[in-house]
């Protein structure tokens, strides 16, 4: 029995093993199958997700050397591999599409350049092409080059369309990518042709010259300014083209009618105000502004960004505000790359006439510099004249740095300054006169500086190796005389300082040494006994008017005169050491990359250089001088040699005035909107990949308000039509415009102009929220401006003034960040 039980157990066990094995195998298989299926689904989903997350934009398309040159940026968070390029010639339908393998991998956030340069495809700039880039995940971007058809919406408008002769009109071309497909229009470089009654204003647009890419639904706007030159009743027709060869017309022509104004004649000022479109900065110009908001804490920290100056000038005294720093805004959410190249520091400045220890400026100051050689640098406008001009000498080596001096021939050369009360009348004391001279051959008395041809006079001369300072305050008085020892030598430069300290006392310094020669004099009597009465008589440099002789024989460097100030010995010493030439100032400049708080991360450049004397007599603009210091910079540790700014990093421009005995102080002119042809102190960097953010910011939840001031000379009205706020997309080609809704709280409509804005009135302009399709009434169309992006902001204002002159102004506000 035992053996049978064992057998049956074995048989049962065998069957159990078979059944269990079968079940386990089946279950395992099923689990594997389900696992494989799940993995397949997961893998497929991941692939789909990657496909959806693949994002890239064309940033630049053109033809270089006959070959396509595409720049593409991966804006997604996964790598993109551009695998193929399809090209179709739209001009020649017989030309079948070509496919080229590209195989270019672009990492997230990276940029691929020169796509198309390596394929054997030659394109002609006069032909139209449709192109398509395909990724290896199957995503595509299509775009067109020169592929414009009559189906593309284009609208050319003249504003104003009726214009007086010699006035300007602005032609605005709007191009909308309304293609049914997803094609991106690229490289739109329109041109315009007008009949002979209109001529383009020199230096005018098109602005922008080219729009690189225009996506479907986006609008590009181009402007030109033309001047009307016809007769009353003439018309001029302007036709816009998509191409510079003017073969593909864009929209309908615009007609401009020339019509004399019904009002009185146009004044010159209104002519000036009309048609002047304010210059705009470019991304590479970091203008020095006067505002300090949002800059790092510090006494001398100011804003810099690519926006026009807004004030009438804000002066920084570098010797007192040193170090002076300009910071870009800490809002660099898009990486900014500055390629290698020249960094140009442009300083608009005036040199201090005297060391800061001297509290009173001279009343006449002649530096004899270049084109300003006869001008008075003191600002009092006492210009020299002569009948026999001394010979200008350039590139002269002088101890006071000046390269331009006058050589007096000792025969008949002289200069004279007209009499000016309070400036050179000498009459009351004190007086001071300083200057540099170099005699050729001294025999007898030779006059350097003299006022008075009669008994009363004020005279500084050289006489047999001595300097003599003489004056007589009254005809009854003795001559007061300071004479130096015979200490100067012909052929050498010497400095003199003559000071009339009181009615009959004097001090004389030669080469910073007090004259130790005889000093004597005595007062006269009666009324005016202390006054050198030379009323109406000019001041002479280089001769004595009393004798018509005593012509100076040699060189004179500069002459300065204080009419009511006595220089001290210390001040004379300070003057003696100063450089009035090429080394008047020494400045240390540092370009620093900082974090968002202004803490230095990396010093990009640190150098010290000298700046020449900036003569206030310069007529460039209110006596301001311009000096540019150029440094070629590159980032040696970067493969592209570029400097990169990201994550709120700032660029700090730090200027430090170096205090040395020979250096003068200087005033820096910043944020000065007076200039029309240049924009004052700034740093010009190599064109960055994207502009530094400006300090302007607008929350789209707030009204869009822009304030203008009417500076005259005439009152004006602002028109609804054509007055717009415009936001030009920086990172995308999409741009937006907002219509004017009210001025100073009063609604402005197509039927109602603004209220009258008198001279010095301010107009607070409120605009509707910018959209791609600006519209006054609902339903709104197009897309509202997208927040969290940077835009270039313009305000275009059209109106007319009290003299019938058209007023057209475009203000470039700068790069503005739009927030929600």
């Amino acid at each position: 029995m035992k053996s049978r039980r064992g057998l049956s157990t074995i048989v049962g066990g065998v069957f159990f093993v078979i059944a269990a094995t079968t079940a386990i195998v089946y279950i395992t298989y099923s689990m594997n199958t389900v696992d494989n299926f799940a993995q397949s689904i997961a893998s497929n989903e991941m692939e789909k997700s990657n496909r959806l997350n693949e994002k890239f934009d064309l940033t630049h398309v053109n033809i270089v050397g006959g070959k396509l040159n595409v720049t593409l940026q991966n804006t997604g968070n996964i790598p993109v591999n551009i695998s193929k390029l399809w090209v179709q010639n739209k001009t020649n339908p017989e030309w079948l599409p070509h496919k080229y393998d590209i195989d270019k991998l672009v990492s997230p956030g990276g940029t691929a350049t020169n796509i198309g340069q390596g394929v054997p495809l030659y394109l002609r700039s006069d032909k139209a092409y449709d192109l398509k880039l395909v990724t290896d995940r199957g995503n595509t971007v299509e775009y067109s080059i020169n592929s414009y058809s009559s189906n593309i919406y284009a609208n050319l408008q003249a504003t104003p369309s009726i214009v007086s002769t010699d006035f300007t009109t602005t032609l605005t071309l709007e191009v909308v990518n309304n293609l049914a497909s997803n094609d991106i229009l690229t490289n739109i470089t329109p041109s315009i042709a007008c009949t002979s009654k209109l001529t383009i204003v020199p230096g005018s647009w098109p602005s922008p010259a080219t729009v690189e890419t225009l996506e479907r639904g986006d609008t590009a706007t181009f402007r030109w300014v033309y001047k009307a030159t016809g007769e009353d009743g003439d018309t001029a027709t302007c036709t816009a083209y998509f191409d510079t060869a003017q073969t593909k017309q864009a929209g309908s022509p615009a007609v401009v009618k020339i019509q004399d104004p019904g009002f009185a004649s146009q004044s010159e000022t209104s002519l000036e105000s009309e048609g002047l479109v304010c210059c705009r900065t470019t991304d590479d110009q970091l203008v020095f502004h006067a505002e300090t908001l949002d800059t790092p804490p510090g006494a001398n920290n100011y804003q810099t960004y690519s926006g026009l100056p807004e004030l009438l000038g804000s002066v920084r005294q570098l010797e007192n505000q040193s170090p002076l720093s300009y910071f870009t805004k800490n809002d660099t959410n898009i990486q900014i790359d500055i390629p290698p190249g020249d960094w140009k520091l442009v300083l608009v400045y005036k040199s201090d006439l005297v060391p800061s220890t001297i509290t009173t400026n001279p009343s006449m100051f002649y530096l004899f510099q270049g084109d300003n050689s006869l001008k008075d640098s003191s600002g009092n406008g006492i210009t020299l004249t002569t009948t026999s001009l001394p010979t200008p000498k350039s590139a002269v080596l002088t101890p006071f740095g000046i390269k331009d001096v006058y050589a007096f021939d000792g025969v008949d050369d002289f200069l004279q300054a007209p009499f000016a009360w309070g400036k050179n009348d000498i009459e009351g004391y004190p007086d001071s006169t300083v200057g540099w001279f170099k005699t050729s051959v001294t025999t007898g008395k030779k006059t350097i500086y003299r006022v008075g041809s009669g008994v009363e006079f004020y005279d500084i001369s050289v006489n047999e190796q001595s300097v003599e300072f003489t004056f007589r305050p009254d005809d009854s008085a003795q001559i007061t005389k300071c004479t130096s020892l015979p200490i100067y030598a012909d052929g050498n430069w010497h400095f003199f300082a003559a000071v009339r300290t009181a009615a009959t006392t004097c001090k004389l310094y030669v080469d910073n040494l007090p004259a130790i020669g005889p000093i004597f004099g005595a007062s006269g009597s009666g009324s005016g006994k202390d006054n050198v009465e030379v009323s109406g008589q000019p001041t002479y440099i280089g001769r004595s008017p009393s004798s018509g002789t005593e012509y100076f024989n040699g060189d004179i460097g500069y002459i300065a005169h204080w009419n009511s100030y006595a220089l001290t010995g210390q001040e004379v010493g300070d003057l003696y050491t100063k450089d009035y030439g090429t080394g008047s100032h020494k400045i240390q400049v540092k370009y620093i990359k900082t974090d968002r708080t202004g803490t230095a991360i990396q010093t990009l450049n640190d150098e010290t250089f000298v700046v020449p004397f900036g003569d206030p007599a310069n007529t460039l603009s209110s006596g301001w001088n311009e000096y540019t210091h150029t440094t070629n910079l590159f980032n040696a540790t970067d493969p592209t040699q570029s400097f990169h700014f990201k994550d709120g990093q700032r660029l700090q421009i730090q200027l430090t005035w170096i205090n040395e005995p020979s250096r003068l102080g200087l005033d820096l002119d910043t944020d000065d909107s007076k200039y029309t042809d240049f924009i004052g102190s700034k740093l010009v960097i190599p064109p960055p990949s994207t502009p530094f953010p400006s300090y302007f910011q607008w929350s789209k939840s707030q009204p869009m308000i822009f304030t203008v001031g009417n500076t005259g000379p005439n009152g004006l009205w602002i028109l609804y039509s054509g007055t717009r706020v415009i936001f030009e997309g920086l990172t995308t080609p999409t741009s937006y415009a907002g219509l004017l809704t009210n001025i100073n709280g009063t609604f402005v409509t197509p039927e109602d102009d603004s209220m009258f804005l008198d001279v010095e009135d301010k107009g607070v302009l409120e605009f509707l929220k910018p959209r791609t399709v600006p519209r006054l009434t609902t339903p709104m169309e197009g897309e509202e401006i997208q927040p969290n992006r940077d835009y270039r902001m313009y305000v275009s204002i059209i109106g007319y003034d009290t003299q019938g002159a058209n007023v057209f102004r475009t203000f470039y506000v700068g790069v503005v960040k739009v927030t929600p």
Binding site: R4, L7, S8, V11, V14, F15, I18, A19, T22, Y26, Y29, S30, T33, N36, F37, S40, I41, N44, E47, K84, W86, Q88, P93, P97, K99, K132, V134, D136, R137, G138, T140, A180, S181
Partner: protein, 164 residues
């Protein structure tokens, strides 16, 4: 069990004979039982194996079909329109991880969803990462959007919209 008889000699014989029969029947019974169990067990095992195998094959086939279908991905890489004669030129690329066979291409009016024309393909096989071109003559209408519907042998459908 033991039986008692009067004659001793028989008693012994009978006792012996009774014992032999009893043992045989037990063996036979056991053999029969074992055989029956073996036959039935083997049959059951064979039946279950066969059944499971069939089920496994079905599952495998179904799985394979579904996974392959899942892994199919075709894109209409480029489409252009010819004019002489009116034709649609398309390049289809297989971006999936399996070979696909296109069996049908349909053109449908995007607005009305009306089927305009259907093309049946006999040689529409595309290996993975490869492309094929297809240029049927088709009298399209300019600016009239078309849905191009591609059907594979596994039943996958890929649709793309184009505008002539």
């Amino acid at each position: 069990m033991t039986l008692a008889y009067i004659i001793a000699g028989r008693i012994v014989l009978e006792t012996f004979a009774g014992r032999k029969r009893h043992g045989l029947s037990t063996v036979v019974t056991s053999a029969i039982l074992l055989s029956a169990v073996a036959v039935l067990g083997t049959g059951l095992v064979t039946w279950s194996q066969s059944n499971l195998s069939a089920h496994q094959q079905n599952l495998e086939l179904d799985f394979s079909k579904k996974v392959n279908r899942l892994n199919e991905f075709l894109i209409l890489e480029h489409v252009w329109f010819g004019t002489t004669p009116y034709s649609v030129n398309m390049t289809i690329t297989n971006l999936g991880s399996v070979r696909s066979e296109i069996v049908e291409i349909k053109f449908v009016n995007s607005n009305t969803k009306q089927n305009l024309i259907t093309f049946t393909l006999n040689n529409g096989t595309i290996d993975k990462s490869n492309s094929i071109s297809f240029q049927p003559n088709f009298d399209y209408t300019q600016y009239q959007a078309l849905d191009i519907v591609i059907t594979t042998g596994r039943g996958s459908i890929f649709t793309s919209q184009v505008v002539p």
